[in-house]
Amino acid sequence: MLGLGKRLLPHPALSLLLAVVWCLLTNSLTVGTLVMAVILGLVVPALTAPYWPHRPSTPKLFRLTSYIILVIWDIVVANARVAFIVLFRSNASMRSEWLVIPLELKTPEAITILAGTITLTPGTVSADLADDGRCLLVHALDSADPAADVRDIKERYERRLKEIFE
């Protein structure tokens, strides 16, 4: 039974995502749309399963949703802060710094989301990954205390992503 379920739904999260994206694309919620969404959610993951030999573990959806809300809130707050810095501070007084963030995350999906989160929150851009994948290089526009900012990113985002993906 478990084997059949795995063959029908090799990537449950991907199936759900495809169905939701289809409903949003057609911009309607009728029976026809839903049927098509379910068909897409079943067929596409099954057809592409050979290209995904390593089955990524399904993220915990509730935690992922609360993480997305947290990130959106942080984006709004950081936007206001960086807009203030850009408009009212001189270039010389900005303490732009490189931050090196040692990673505890191991899965590529989680590291990708962490790097994306860091770039989307204004004021920090993730620049590069160490060749062994254990560190992330981040450029900060204005950082008074680089060590505190590294701790903040680890505490706020990495810890949550570790709970979601690992």
Partner: protein, 125 residues
Amino acid sequence: MIWDVLMTIALVLGAIFALVGAIGLVKLDTPMKRLHAPTKASTMGVGSLLLASIIQAFALGDGSLREVLIMAFLFVTAPISAHLISKVNMHRENTREAPPPPPGSGTWAVYDTNEADVGDPGQHG
């Protein structure tokens, strides 16, 4: 009426953040600092404009959530271009200060090049 007000606020907010992003591009002085400016325009700027679009669609009675999809695609793709631009900056040593090496024996992925690939690409035409 209340919808019009909300929509106007969202529109003006989006325009302001897009403007601040553009000002940042002009004002900031190093390539790495300049990278920070467009993240504002692409998150809050476009986000507010899309929010205005959603509000307007619901106010007119034909609800539309397609804008959420635009936002999602933007959020997925924007970091990738920023990441590539900063990699190019590091590769061309176009940064004011060289980034500190990672702890341990490794190096950053940009500098992890094969011996055979090092050299002046211009010489090969």
